[in-house]
């Protein structure tokens, strides 16, 4: 595997490890509700006492882990100019915690964390029109079967191809490191899957063209 992909995935893995500190937390706005806080849209962002302040994550340990990787990224950036690895962190310390990890313009990963839930949105590399349509169809196929995956979100966040929603209940039922492994494995496989689809698509296209053109021989 390319070295840059490994770093990209390691960065995501460490960020997830720090961000996935979730716990059962009943909603403090709506009575008798217990919903993923990351999905709630609060209107009163700047009023104290709303859940705005309940959307921070342990960024101290997270910074340590993520920045270590970030430094590695910078070194890689200097050493090999052709591997454009950048990593942008967006902190909204007061409000929701968001981390954006970009490998390049086309490939990025947005991690949003709150007290009882975590949302991971991925943008998969799409080099041309064909890959674009393949990715769209394939991920739509997966999203429609979201129940089978448990952590998959039915609809991706705007601007991304696929989103995962991990709540504290998933962390109770499943082991945290296995969950992280699943996400990382998914990211590793999705590229392979798309390029395989593209290959078989091309092969099939060529076959069809050959068969079609035979009648003119």
């Amino acid at each position: 595997m390319a070295n840059t992909l490994r770093l990209y995935l390691t960065c995501i893995r460490n960020t997830l490890d720090a961000a996935m500190c979730l716990q059962n937390f009943p909603c403090q706005e709506v009575e008798r509700h217990n919903k993923p806080e990351v999905e709630l849209k609060y209107v009163y962002w700047d009023q104290p006492g709303t859940s705005a302040e309940s959307c921070r994550i342990p960024y101290c340990s997270f910074i340590k882990k993520a920045l270590n990787v970030f430094l590695t990224f910078v070194i890689v950036l200097y050493t090999c100019m052709f591997d454009c690895c950048t990593c942008i962190f967006i902190f909204f310390f007061l409000f929701i915690m968001q981390v954006l990890i970009c490998r390049n313009e086309a490939e990025k990963c947005l991690i949003e964390a709150s007290i009882n839930s975590l949302r991971i949105s991925l943008k998969v590399k799409q080099a041309d029109e064909l890959e674009n349509i393949l990715t769209k169809k394939f991920l739509r196929f997966l999203s429609m079967r979201a129940e089978a995956f448990q952590v998959l979100r039915r609809k991706p966040v705007q601007g991304y191809d696929i989103s995962f929603l991990i709540t504290n209940y998933h962390c109770e039922d499943m082991q945290k490191h296995k969950l992280i492994d699943f996400i990382v494995q998914f990211m590793e496989d999705i590229d392979k899957e798309i390029s395989e689809l593209k290959m078989s698509m091309n092969t099939r296209g060529r076959l069809v063209a050959t068969e079609f053109l035979k009648q003119f021989m």
Binding site: R13, I57, P58, C60, V69, I75, D181, E188
Partner: protein, 378 residues
């Protein structure tokens, strides 16, 4: 080995409590029931199931001398369970909350208990003899967010709370007719019920888990930013120390002695913090054994992987394929620990044994007595 007993009671445990001689344990298996197990000749057997709540139970406390169990739940109610014969009889406590109750603790004299809630209030409940009823008095409008944990000062008056607004607050809970003036030693005698003694604004993240030292001189609480805070001289001019550590954040803390604190949390392994002679707190070690080395070496390999680009890949021989799999904790607990309870023997202020429970459904009893390197701090 610091863990002396490991019991797998359920799939997932939210909180647990012990009776006075530690022969019975009550816990909530992540639903609306409380299970009580009793030790019969090296075997734990389920004795009672307390079923009265209709949502997940978030806090249990068992009073040692009066043998009462208080449970609080996300359904906004609280019950005090009293053993009559072989049955546990519940008494409903009207908390007057409109959000979930999150934590509960008996006061040291066991004439009151405190309940923290998602309604940004704290309820102090006491028994009214004439009405045969538990009455609650509310501390309102002092918290900006959910109250995640409460802790009683040994003097039975002061109550420390932590909240998801990142602050730790200390209140006076003097109730006329329940507390006597003599019990307010050391504090200004004119503090009324619900008076805010001190507000500690050290954490810039959510605060969880608060505990007083056995003498009541030091207060410790944790923030979700992987920090633990120690506060001396709680009063008008408190002295605070922040200790940051490199691992995942803590959920709960416990003072084992005046100079030693155990923190449990998302790292699935209890952490030991101790104060040296000068009173400086620092992280000592993990209490459970850890198979994997610290993650420092992991980063080291990445750096050398990057440096490998300078010197040619073959020289460093770092295997570049495959992302390393996440470390497993390798400890006794396999998931986040969210509850730590002291096992006090008699009236000594020293606690060498304590139990932890977590989302992996285990209750583990730990003993720090057999840890030679920690004996100095006991």
């Amino acid at each position: 080995m610091a863990a002396i007993e490991v019991h797998q009671f359920a799939q997932c445990i939210t909180c647990h409590a012990w009776n006075s001689d530690h022969s019975m344990v009550a816990f909530c298996p992540n639903n609306n029931e409380v299970h009580i197990y009793k030790l019969f000749q090296d075997k734990w057997e389920k004795l009672h199931v307390l079923k009265k709540h209709d949502q997940i139970i978030s806090g249990i406390d068992w009073s040692a001398s009066s043998n009462k169990i208080v449970t609080v739940s996300h359904d906004r109610n609280s019950y005090v369970w009293n053993q009559e014969g072989s049955e546990w009889v519940p008494t409903l406590v009207i908390l007057r909350l409109n959000r979930a109750a999150l934590c509960a603790q008996w006061s040291p004299k066991e004439n009151k208990f405190a309940v923290g809630s998602g309604a940004k209030t704290v309820c102090i409940c006491y028994y009214e003899q004439e009405n045969n009823w538990w009455v609650s008095k509310l501390i309102r409008k002092k918290h900006d967010s959910s109250v995640t944990s409460v802790a009683w000062h040994p003097n039975n008056i002061l109550l420390a709370t932590t909240s998801t607004d990142g602050k730790c607050r200390v209140f006076s809970t003097f109730i006329k007719g329940v507390d006597t003036r003599e019990s307010k030693t050391g504090m200004t005698s004119d503090s009324k019920f619900g008076e805010l003694i001190v507000q500690l604004d050290l954490s810039f993240s959510w605060a969880f888990g608060v505990n007083w030292s056995p003498s009541g001189n030091t207060l410790a609480y944790v923030g979700h930013n992987s920090m633990i805070y120690f506060v001396d001289d709680v009063g008008p001019s408190p002295l605070a120390q922040n200790v940051a550590f490199r691992d995942l954040p803590l959920r709960d803390v416990l003072f084992v002695s005046e100079k030693m604190v155990i923190g449990v949390g998302f790292d699935c392994n209890p952490m030991v913090f101790a104060a040296d002679e000068t009173g400086i707190w620092r992280f000592i070690k993990f209490l459970g054994e850890r198979k994997t080395p610290s993650s420092g070496s992991k980063y080291g390999s990445q750096f050398s992987g990057a440096f490998g680009k300078f010197y040619g890949q073959s020289k460093y021989g770092v295997s570049n394929d495959g992302v390393e799999t996440s470390r497993t904790s390798g400890g006794v607990h396999e998931n986040c620990i969210n509850c730590i309870v002291p096992l006090r023997e008699g009236s000594t202020s020293r606690t060498t044994r304590f139990s932890t429970s977590g989302l992996d459904g285990k209750v583990v009893i730990w003993d720090v007595q057999n840890q030679e390197d920690l004996l100095d701090y006991l």
